[in-house]
């Protein structure tokens, strides 16, 4: 029997082309298994063949996801795959979005199953879990071995034609779909039983689990902009020259506070970008490309805003857990409120 044809998708890093400096490379495809794909091939055995590896730079994908997915889908279709495996992407934001978007596109355009893997806090999980099979992985590539084992076992089940309509029972993120089941008692009877259990302190299980979202109501500006104090904040790793506050370039819960009193624009002798998650060469030529101090000063001079706050706060938003992001956000927010700031322009890389 012919082996089942698999195409594997990787970013520039796992595709062994290079690091952040190559995050802008265009979609491409190679007719071999690469990196994690070799492990996949070894564990899948001879009934499967990884016929090609599609690779795209993380920034290329993030800057225009639809176009990147379309280009990759065209490249991949020429290899006539029967299954697509993407990643796994662990907790990487851009890579996760690429894997999710590509799986969705391949399923739709080529009508073949696709599977990827991510960490629960990857923003792409919520974006794609309703239509893409996403295996639960650990946060980093240290858990690659377990992630690949999980993917391999599911790929074998897909090939065997097993129904995979209950992803949560397979170590994957639930699609959030509801499926009809037949119960012995009618709903009114079940509801009364539940109520009686509740009233008498007996255990009971709700039939309707309500998801809990962390919602923040948008704050409205309560005074005209021309009277407001506006602060600049960035997650792109802005630090004072030489990083005297010693902020890590990622995976951090730390912030920097950069005084801008008397500055009309950022110059490279005063600040720099310190961030391990994107190629900082362009913003390090001109830091106003990251934090638009010059344009904000013009607005202050022209009276469009009341005042530009004299401190810029920053962090390095790379591999940042949601708990750390909340901590960083609260700390910056608390300081800005204490300092009488009403509005923030946040720039994100």
């Amino acid at each position: 029997m012919e082996p089942i044809r698999i195409v594997h998708y990787l970013n520039q890093f796992f595709g062994q082309l290079g690091g952040e400096e190559l995050a802008g490379i265009k979609p491409q495809i190679k007719s071999e298994a690469i990196g994690p794909g070799r492990v996949l091939q070894a564990r899948l055995g001879a009934s499967f063949e990884v016929v090609a590896t599609a690779i795209c730079g993380d920034n290329t994908f993030a800057d225009n996801p639809e176009a990147a997915a379309e280009d990759l889908t065209a490249l991949i279709s020429e290899f006539r795959p029967q299954i697509l495996i993407a990643g796994p992407a662990f907790n990487s934001g851009r890579y996760g979005q690429a894997c999710g978007q590509l799986c969705a596109s391949i399923q739709e355009k080529l009508a073949i199953p696709a599977i990827t893997g991510m960490y629960q806090e990857n923003p792409a999980v919520d974006q794609f879990r309703n239509r893409v099979l996403i295996v639960r992985t650990g946060p980093t590539a240290r858990t690659m071995g377990e992630a690949i084992d999980q993917i391999v076992s599911l790929v074998k089940r897909i090939a065997a034609g097993d129904p995979l309509d209950r992803p949560a029972e397979l170590g994957c993120f639930p699609h959030g779909m509801k499926r009809p089941v037949v119960r012995e008692q009618i709903a009114a009877r079940r509801a009364i039983d539940m109520l009686l259990s509740k009233l008498t302190g007996q255990p009971f299980t709700t039939e309707m689990s309500v998801p809990v979202f962390d919602r923040v109501e948008p704050t409205r500006l309560k005074l005209p902009l021309s009277e407001a104090t506006v602060a600049l904040v960035t997650d792109g790793g802005l630090v004072a020259k030489g990083n005297p506050e010693r902020m890590p370039n990622g995976y951090t819960d730390r912030i920097t506070a950069i005084p801008i009193h008397g500055l009309d624009r950022f110059t490279t002798d005063i600040v720099e970008a310190h961030h391990g998650g994107y190629d900082t060469q362009f913003v390090n030529q001109d830091l106003n490309r990251l934090t638009p101090l010059d344009a904000a000063r013009e607005l202050e001079r022209n009276g469009v805003i009341g005042k530009l706050h004299e401190t810029v706060y920053a962090t390095a938003g790379l591999g940042m857990s949601i708990s750390n992001a909340k901590k960083v956000g609260r700390e910056i927010g608390r300081r800005l409120l204490d300092q009488g700031v009403q509005a923030v322009i946040l720039t994100s890389t």
Partner: protein, 67 residues
């Protein structure tokens, strides 16, 4: 209480999903408010435009979290 925010970013879907109330399109993940491919004056115009969009967004109500 609270601070009005406008976020200049390129990964807009992610920003919308986590509930960012005012999202303004940045030029690139690599340089949100600039573009090294442009001449200095054109780049300055680009930056003024993006920041002006953020200012306009700050004056608006903001979109509640849809998720």
């Amino acid at each position: 209480m609270g601070i009005a925010t406008a976020q200049i970013c390129s990964m807009k879907q992610v920003a919308a999903m986590v509930g960012s109330p005012r999202i303004v399109t940045g030029r690139s993940v690599l340089h949100p408010t600039g573009d090294p491919a442009l001449a200095p004056e054109a780049e300055q115009m680009l930056r003024r435009g993006i920041v002006a969009d953020a200012i306009r967004a700050l004056a608006a109500d903001g979109i509640p979290h849809a998720a």
